[in-house]
Symmetry: C2
């Protein structure tokens, strides 16, 4: 690549100065945007909010990438790890022209620039960070740590895409970012896109130096090489007097070298060498707040943490700061950048703006809904489990789901991925390995240990929930489909990432030019009730509580009780858009309740009466409602109903199963909510409701607190009691076992307490006996282990059925 | 260090074999523990639960550390990152003798071994992982990723302690672990202890190879050097035929080299060189499941992921597996390890057991409560803010707390630390820098940029919530005191770590030999209502909801409304034990309500009527209760009360402020809960209650759903609406503003709707006007900005007071 001409470098510099001018203007100016008159305090915003420090580095990189994209016609997106530098990316997309295209009010003239400035971090305007409102972004600049995992997620299955991922050196200290460098052991140079990490080493956070800026360069080089990269170092020293053209020349050379290396790697891969290359990355060391005021109030500012946010905080209040602000703005030479109408000079934009969707701010990958294709879904009914009679079959529900995924993978070879933290098989989705592999691009050791691993596959696993969540988000945000499975307890690791994604979805729902993307689908398995082997540390069903704090319009929670219900639920999830779907399903062998037709109907309603399980008389109200949400609660409720059917045959029991938890909520609070009339019709408004719930019992009260019958609802669920013990002991520890549910009925149905004192005592005794037996034998009592629903009891398969319930399969 | 004798090495090998035998026995055997008779299926547990794969490596390292500890008399604790290897650590502490000391039932004979085996992963027994029940552990082996941050937390201020921290190569893929290597840039070789990281590279996770085992050794070496370490490589190849003595000799040499290097560093530091050394670490590459069956069912097992859990899963069910299990157990030569009574041969334990508390399983640092000293606390009342009249003073509450901390630091120079993710100053605790520095041991650049930084200080900051939480946990678990501050929204990053710590506290409460440790204290500032500048991504008050799912006995939540209340609250938190205290307080200038005496009384009650704010008549019930929990809600409620006082002077308003949120809960559910009688006395059981709450409104319903007056409670709070806007616009977006609260009163107090239709309309208009003004001027309307509580209105400071409320200070 020949050296660039000085003229080109000068144009790059002008573009950069324009972007910096536009950035500073956004942070400070309410009016007089192009300094057509002397700056007055009234031109300065009353609340100065924004982050300058990282911004000039971001615009510098954007300028140079624009130059290279134009030359190479390389489809590129830009991930802004230091997302606080919002003004820089807004400025860049304004210079690209994209901003005015999507926000027609922000015109290319004085008035447009004024509006651009005013709206920034201003009520009714745009956020101060890179945000969904920023064209070209798939990465909210709020929480830090996910720049590289988002970037790699975007790169999967996009072989022609370059993802320039700017990593802030503050962000680089976060755990998720520190491990995400290892993503390079998973991508395939022939079949995936390229991530170019640029470590933006400006040296400071809010109030401290950054770790990576304060280790010897040899250590930093070793670190990057240890991560599998070939680092290219570029530095502009603090208080450097090097002229701008020289700086741009040096960087353009580094960038060209890097892009040439990438091209060579891609060429090699195209000839069949898909092994892991030493991908290049750039260490970009520049002063924090570069081009800003060197000192303010006598204190070093540029090149220090003091440049992090708004360096001239008193620009509206003191003459000195106001004057310094004006000098700073003038230092970019706006008169050389804007024409008389206030438009950026066409030679600047013409030289640096790639055409159409090659503009990073207009790349459709960064507005993934534009590229989204519906999944080619097989009919999930084809994967139905045969359920001759309720309880008359046994299945591990996610195993059946895995079979469904197998066919989805077959039909969608480049558009659907499964992510997981080393748990895809443990969570029973291993059927997918019949048609695909785990993608891996580190060393291979041979088939005796490396099962289902290759350089290309639809499953991606690394032992980091952060990493797989980040990959999945990046994959979805660029217009593809996917899901991830996790042990239920450890999905809390990504609580904060979930928050950010849910917020992203909520905001993009309100931005017309953002197109809907596929939902983020979780399968939470290895759940609280069947972490009887890993014990207390692995028992936490609270992710649901966390999720329902987010806007109802973007969250859904499903608790299918068997395989057919899970299949129907997941089909629905995969067709949905702009949601986070949380599906909780155990993986252990479990009785099956519904035929596929029944499951479809049940899922369509979201909840319903299981008439075969109750003892209601036609046309009469029940005496008590037994409700269950979740697979284990369903078993216990049915077992309790079974006892009541035998022991209290005249009691009219209604059994309700809930699969869509949001049905419980008030329709004013969640779009899925039942009307009060429907709710009362099911749950009654005056009968006792004994509700066995998968998670923390509070949530059911929270969801139903406005319901008429709320005071009658008595909820059993996980109350943070657990250890390494048997499955039935786990439900007993939390008073959700069948015997306790029967006691709850006796205690709450008027008149039962006296009449059924004997039954109540027998239930107490059964609990004590079960506990004693378990402690002696290390296993559950036979009457629990062998229990099957009466309708299945006489069937041929009863013995086999009983033998597998609650035995636990393996203990992963 | 001279080579060890073959005899010593043979004894190490015997100790190791004994530990491995005891580990395998725990996983499989219900009876016949020392194979005194042929193994029968009934001797095998019915549920085989545990993790073998990592165990032999852990016992190997323990054996060698024991040898070195004995020689060097080096106080050492052992952090088991691969905590699934529970049996190994139980076996080691049994061999140390500690296990029988704390669990007298587990004697040193056949019967004791039988009990030791049976209890493991057995109902009523002990968990399968390293757990609070395991002597010598401060690190639950459930969730992965915190081995090194716990280790460094333990090392701070313990200059004579060695923390051997075993890092699993699965765990090493997690984000928190990946960044925690950088902890070495924070410790001081003279004043802190030493962490010796041992990367346990056994190559496999549940179902996959590990990343770090599948990169070239040169890359791994570069990675460790990049992290600032000097790696020492030790390898035992898969299917190695090297004899045991040779292996032990090689490792003993590596360990001695490493310990010698550490001793040299410590010696250098003692002479004044406290700069960052290249601390040694060990890469310990051994086959997964080392010493286990090479193949099972024809498939490679040792040296593969198949050895991860229970390799012979059918030992009770098939003759072949049973036979293989017996051979495996016999391979350790139990007859050479145990005497006729079933005790381990004394020459083995004598050679390898350090004396007393030098045993890692008995080191008091691993049962921190033993070492815990009360903090020397100054009288927090000395830091009182002068509040001449309610609302008559302005303060940034955490700034006052910082002054209190300053004196705590002075009085407790080695026993109290403040941790934070780069936010200690942003969260306004910067007064502490008057007496201490931020501890840092990477490069220094000079005083103009490196303020308050040195090689020794009481504040430790890195931009990773995981890291600082892990450090703090390690510090507390080893018997010291501390706190961390965080932006409220991003504390969700450590939700899962909080879960594990809360579980640890719950379980240790039930273990008599575990002594209480200091509480984990959070200060959540930069909260949802004053993240008006950083916008939506920084707005999430849901950590409280997450916390209250954990056992009531270990969690507390406080929402002090002003500085004096915050001081009183924090004094209480710092005196408490075995809790997680969540304290939420804004950092912006805010009116002060209570004198210190009033604050102390208020905090003692936890909630109460603010009589000066209400308009009740003596002896009459109020017409409406206005309640507030949180600083911003308190302002809005008081402003609403002010409006009502003027506009509806005959309305009897009661104002209640809640500082201890758990007071709202039923006393059966939380020890702090008010009795129903007390609750009704405050809130009434029939009057409308308008409750302005800091967080998601649901929680108040959840906490109060059993209260008599519950149906009358109407809660306003954060409903996930926010962006970059003004403070008052933020409360308006969520309908928690003063005007809306007045409307809520009018709508809910019987008879007001018709009588006060005009006021209602004016409130609506005020909202519209406020919104329009804000969008025009970028600021809040003067009537909001200038509002002060009537009692303060005429005071001299009123203007000054008004000028600082809601203006926002800086925008960090």
């Amino acid at each position: 690549m020949a050296d660039l001409s000085t003229e080109t470098l000068q144009l790059i510099d002008k573009w950069w100065r324009a972007a910096n001018y536009l950035s500073v203007g956004q942070i400070y100016l309410l009016d007089n945007p192009l300094l057509r008159e002397p700056l007055h305090r009234d031109h300065v915003k009353p609340r100065l909010l924004g982050h300058w420090g990282t911004t000039p580095g971001l615009t510098f990189l954007y300028a140079h990438l624009n130059r290279a994209i134009k030359e190479r016609e390389q489809s590129t997106i830009y991930i802004t790890g230091p997302g606080h530098g919002g003004p820089g990316l807004v400025a860049a997309s304004y210079l690209d022209g994209t901003y005015s295209e999507v926000y027609s009010d922000i015109t290319k003239d004085d008035e447009g620039v004024r509006r651009l400035f005013k709206q920034f971090s201003f009520p009714g305007g745009i956020p101060s960070h890179v945000a969904p409102e920023t064209p070209g972004s798939i990465h909210e600049g709020g929480e830090l740590g996910y720049a590289l995992s988002h970037a790699y997620g975007a790169a999967f299955d996009n072989p022609d895409l370059l993802v320039a991922s700017i990593v802030g050196d503050g962000e680089a200290e976060t755990g998720p970012l520190a491990t995400s460098w290892h993503s390079n052991k998973f991508v395939n140079p022939a079949k995936d896109g390229v991530v170019l990490p640029i470590l933006h080493l400006n040296g400071y956070k809010i109030a401290n130096p950054t770790v990576l800026a304060r280790i010897p360069e040899a250590e930093l080089k070793a670190l990057m090489e240890g991560y599998g990269h070939k680092p290219h170092f570029f530095e502009v020293e603090d208080e450097s007097t090097e002229d701008a053209v020289s700086i741009h020349r040096r960087f353009a050379k580094v960038l060209d070298e890097v892009l040439d290396e990438i091209a060579e790697i891609k060429a090699r891969a195209a000839t069949g060498d898909e092994s892991r290359p030493q991908w290049p990355m750039i260490v970009f060391r520049t002063p924090k707040g570069w081009t800003g005021p060197a000192t303010i109030d006598g204190k070093k500012t540029t090149g220090s943490w003091r440049a992090h946010q708004v360096p001239l905080a008193s620009a509206r209040d003191t003459e000195e700061h106001l004057h310094d602000l004006e000098s700073w703005l003038q230092s970019y030479g706006p008169e050389e950048l804007f024409d008389a109408e206030g438009a950026v000079l066409p030679e600047i934009t013409a030289a640096l703006t790639p055409s159409g969707t090659l503009r990073m701010s207009d790349n459709p990958h960064a507005n993934g809904g534009l590229l989204l294709r519906d999944l080619r879904l097989p009919d999930f009914r084809d994967f139905a489990v045969d359920v001759p009679t309720p309880g008359g079959a046994i299945s591990e529900a996610p195993r059946e789901l895995g079979k469904f995924f197998t066919e989805i993978i077959r039909r969608n070879p480049d558009n659907f991925r499964i992510f997981g933290p080393d748990e895809t098989a443990s969570n029973r989705l291993q059927a997918v390995y019949d048609v695909t592999d785990k993608q891996w691009n580190a060393d291979f050791y041979g088939a005796d240990v490396d099962e289902h691993m290759s350089r290309f596959g639809r499953v991606v696993e690394m032992l980091s929930e952060h990493q797989v969540q980040g990959w999945l988000e990046g994959y979805l945000l660029t217009g593809r489909h996917g899901m991830m499975s996790s042990y239920e307890a450890f999905i809390h690791i990504v609580n904060s990432m979930f928050n950010q994604h849910a917020k992203w979805l909520k905001v993009t729902n309100e931005i017309p030019w953002r197109r809907p993307i596929a939902s983020l689908n979780y399968l939470l398995s290895s759940h609280v009730w069947r972490q009887d082997h890993n014990g207390f540390s692995h028992q936490d069903p609270g992710f649901i509580d966390h999720v329902v704090n987010k806007k109802a319009e973007v969250v859904r929670v499903y608790l299918p009780a068997d395989a057919n219900t899970l299949l129907s639920t997941y089909d629905h999830c995969l067709r949905s858009r702009q949601l986070v779907n949380v599906v909780v399903s155990g993986k252990q062998p479990s009785p099956q309740w519904l035929t596929m037709d029944e499951a479809v109907e049940h899922c369509t309603r979201g909840l319903g009466i299981w008439e075969w399980a109750g003892t209601e008389k036609d046309g009469e109200e029940p005496d008590v409602v037994l409700a269950a949400a979740g697979d284990v609660p369903t078993i216990e409720v049915l077992a309790a109903a079974d006892i009541l059917r035998q022991e209290a045959p005249d009691l009219k029991v209604r059994m309700i199963n809930v699969v869509d938890l949001m049905k419980l909520q008030d329709p004013k609070e969640h779009p899925h909510g039942l009307s009060d009339k429907e709710f009362d019709g099911l749950f009654t408004d005056d009968k006792p409701i004994i509700f066995a719930y998968h998670g923390y019992p509070w949530l059911i009260h929270r969801l139903t607190y406005r319901r008429n019958g709320h005071d009658n609802i008595h909820v059993r669920g996980y109350k943070e009691e657990g250890t390494t013990t048997t499955p039935f002991d786990m439900v007993m520890l939390n008073d959700m076992d069948r015997y306790h549910l029967v006691i709850d009925v006796i205690d709450r149905v008027p008149g039962m307490a006296s009449r059924y004192a004997g039954l109540r005592q027998r239930m107490q005794d059964a609990r004590i006996r079960a506990r004693a037996y378990t402690r002696e034998h290390g296993d559950d009592i036979p009457e629990v282990r062998d229990w099957v629903w009466p309708g299945a009891r006489d069937a041929a398969q009863a013995t086999e059925v009983a033998a597998t319930i609650f035995t636990g399969g393996d203990n992963e």
